[in-house]
Assembly symmetry: C12
Homo-oligomer: 83 residues x 12
């Protein structure tokens, strides 16, 4: 009865699960000048749910993590080895 | 005020079920400066339903939990061993 | 002819059925400071339908209950043993 | 006023059919302080259709009843014995 | 070529067909204080189409009737004996 | 005024076909006090298309007629004997 | 390649084809007082396309005609003898 | 003015193909008083695409023509002999 | 991978391909008084894409042409001989 | 200005691929008086993506080209020889 | 689990992949006077994602490139040789 | 401000995974004059999620990367060798 992971085009947030300790989720500002406005550090297996905001228009993920996006799951920090 | 009330019920929410005692759901602020604005602690098998708010744009889950999102279920605090 | 429990992503309320007496449904405030703003106690087999509001952005369920959400049914207060 | 009338017809509603005399449908206020604002008593086999309103954000059903919701039918006041 | 009775979630009115004379359709006010604001009496086989309004947020049906709602047909005043 | 005209064409309507002469379509007011605001009489086989309006929130059909609604066809004035 | 006659719930006008000369399409006003505001007479096989308007909230069809509505085709002025 | 332009392109239109010379497309006004505001004459095999407008709420087609509507094709000026 | 020609109900423009030289696309005004506001002449095999506008609410096509509309392709200037 | 930017990206566009050198894409004005406001010339195999604008409500394509529209591909400047 | 390339009618940007060095993406202004407002040059295998803007209503692609549009992929600078 | 926050989460975003160190994601301004407003450099296997903003209307990707768009995955910096 679970709502399966399909048609999530309109999801207003993304999720990141750290696959190692020390994953960095680095927010980049929306403004006229683009700069880092926040770095969230995750320990292994922590999960982070986040929205784009008035202040953040770009997010860089550094380190081994599983990123849940409308395009499917994207793995950072490693070669893709999932189907 | 009717219209206002309607807005609040339209905001998507996610659900967290704690799989051990001491799960932390840590809200991160939306504002110019990103800081922790609330930590909710869950005992084992408690369920938490939460919306992103005007004040919270990111949520970190620490500890063993089952997180219900539009992308499907994400397990925090442990290696994924579900299909 | 019943409308079956599918595609309920947009339902603006959730339902809780208590499976024991003494289930607590604890509302957490939306505001700048997050605090408990209401605790609803349910006896066994009572059903509660509730919306997120201008005042409530998070809800914790403590005790054995069946929670009807857009993600499906979540059981609080016990190990999941349903399909 | 046309537009206003349209809003009211768009608010979702749920239905309750009493399966015994003395079913209580207890409305809980939306406001800052949560309190009971109305109790509707149903005799056996009466049906009640109700909307969430500006004043009611939660509804408790006490006694044997069949509650029609977007999640399907929920039975209050008894163990579930339907498919 | 008839539009069959499916997917009527968004229908902004409900219908009641009286199955006996003396069916009461009792409107309950939306306001701060909940009180009866109108009682419509139906003779056997009369049909009533009604909307929720600025003044009516709840409707009780008393007596044998067939109620057409987005959840399907609900029979008041008798045990359900339809599929 | 263009926009206004568009609103009126978007309001749903229902259709009634009289199956005998003397069918009454009785409009009930939306206002604070509910009273009859119009009675339309149909001869046999006449068809009436009508919208709910700013003034009419309920409609009673008395006499043998076929009522076309989003729930399907409802027969007034007689026992249902159609599939 | 024609768009077939299905799913026409949202069509903002209806069509009438006269099946005899002297079909009357009688518009009834939307206002506080309901009165006839226009009568359109059709000769046999003429077709009339019309919208509900700021001034017309009800339409009566008298005489043999084929009425195209979101509920399908309704025949006025005669017993239904179509599938 | 951009927004205005967008509105006009969203208004639905219908198409008429004349099957004989001398087909009349007669626009009836939307206003308080209903009168003819335009008659378009088509020669055989000419095609006319038209919108309902602020000024036209009804359109009568007289003569042999093929009318393309959301309900399918309607033939004026002759008995229907198409599937 | 082409988007096939289906479900084009919402297309905000239509297309005309001239099948002979001298096709006329004649715009008729939206205003209070209906008059011709533009005539576009097409040579054989030229294609014209056009929107209804603030000024044009009706378009007549004279001459052999293929007209692409939400109702499918309509041929002007000749008997229909396509499927 | 954000909102404005969003509007512009929502306007539909069409694509033209020139199949010979010297294809002309001729924009016709939306205004009260219809005149040519721009001619874009394409060399063979160049592709042009264009929106209807506040200033352009009609576009004529002259020369051999492949025009991508919601109705499918339309070939200008030649007889259609595609399926 | 990838979201496949279907139903991209509403995508508010297009993508260009250069298949040779020196591809030009030439923006044409939206304004009253149509002129080139920007030329982006791409080296081989660079990818450009772009939106129509307040300033750009037309885009010409010159050189060998693969253009991703709601109508599918269009190849500029060469004969089409893909399915 | 709630409403504002909602707008920002609705803006679509794309994802880029660097397949080598030194991938450049170069934002081009939306304004009257088009110039580079930000260059984000990615190391191998880093993932970048980004929205178009009030300031950025075009994005060039230089170097080997996997770009997730509504059109599917586009590879920059190399010949396409995926299905």
């Amino acid at each position: 009865m679970e709502q399966k992971g399909k048609d999530f085009t309109d999801i207003p947030y993304f999720c990141v699960k750290a696959l190692e300790t020390g994953v960095n989720i680095i927010g980049v500002t929306r403004g006229d000048v683009t700069r880092i406005n926040h770095t969230e550090k995750l320990d292994c297996n922590e999960v982070f749910l986040a929205q784009f905001t008035e202040h953040t228009a770009g997010v860089k993920v550094r380190g081994k993590a599983k990123i849940y996006t409308p395009y499917g799951i994207i793995y950072s920090g490693e070669e893709e080895h999932h189907g």
